[in-house]
């Protein structure tokens, strides 16, 4: 099994240090943007919420792709990691009607 893994490693690009540092820089920059969206810029709540969700997804994608190495795995492995998250969005959509019921009680 280790041999199979070594094959994957061999397929990875060299100079990953630079890639990891770029990812770090982007992640820190996104965090700074997130904080400034609340503390510095005055933006409508809907725009701010949309921007924050997009930024969170960007951060999660960067971490999953580079720090967890999904970028270098087979696509089949990416499906295992990503499909449950898509199902999660469906679950969220499914429970939203309950929220309106809760609101109706207040």
């Amino acid at each position: 099994m280790t041999d199979g893994h070594a094959g994957t490693t061999a397929g990875q690009p060299q100079g990953l240090t630079r890639l990891y540092l770029i990812a770090w820089l982007v992640l820190v920059a996104i965090t700074a943007i997130e904080v400034s969206l609340l503390l510095v810029f005055r933006v409508p709540p809907a725009v701010r919420a949309t921007a924050l969700i997009i930024l969170a997804i960007m951060k999660a994608t960067l971490i999953g792709a580079y720090y967890m190495g999904l970028r270098f795995e087979r696509l089949a492995m990416v499906y295992i990691a990503v499909i449950p998250l898509l199902l999660l969005v469906l679950m969220l959509v499914a429970v939203v009607p309950d929220v309106t019921l809760l609101l109706g009680r207040h």
Binding site: H5, G7, W24, A32, R74, P84, M91, V95
Partner: protein
Amino acid sequence: MTTGAADARERGDLTARWSGGRSPWDLSWGKLMMWLFLISDAMTFAALLVGLWVARLGSPAWPNRLEIMNLQFVAAMTVILICSSTTMALAVYAARQGARRQAVWFLTATIAAGCLFAGMQATEWSHFIREGARLTGNPWGVPAFSFTFFVITGLHGAHVLGGIVYLWIMADRIARGLSSAEGLEIAGLYWGFVDLVWVFIWSSIYLL
């Protein structure tokens, strides 16, 4: 013509890959098991975060976090966790290159950042408790607010503490030559997940 040949080769590869007798994911069992654990763990966090959002959207009011929590402080925690993920990835890379000593140094930096994060989270909790927040109620009149905060950040904090112990053991094993680079890569998956989950906790509890 070339595209047709490439398609045929790809179809052949797919058949060979999925027709049994070998893992179609080309992963070692340890790495695959860690992924499966992390996905199930992600479902636990997902359920808690969905619960938080149902409680929040169903509540007529939700306290203004900017008045209660120190956003800059938690942003610093977030940056520290990002730094620790970077040093973890660098540790794995060093181990893969055979630079064991360097890998141990990067791991030590990761553990130090993890400890700092956990310490800052303890400070954040103390501040919140001093403000009057409890698991069952708080001065802002929305019990679900402090309940979800303590449960979600608490579970994440437990993951950080568990991760520190895990990385400590791995650093020792790598230093003594008992663990392979792949063993460290599996630990790196866990630590990356701790950072990944924090992205959504940070957004849901503090930002949105």
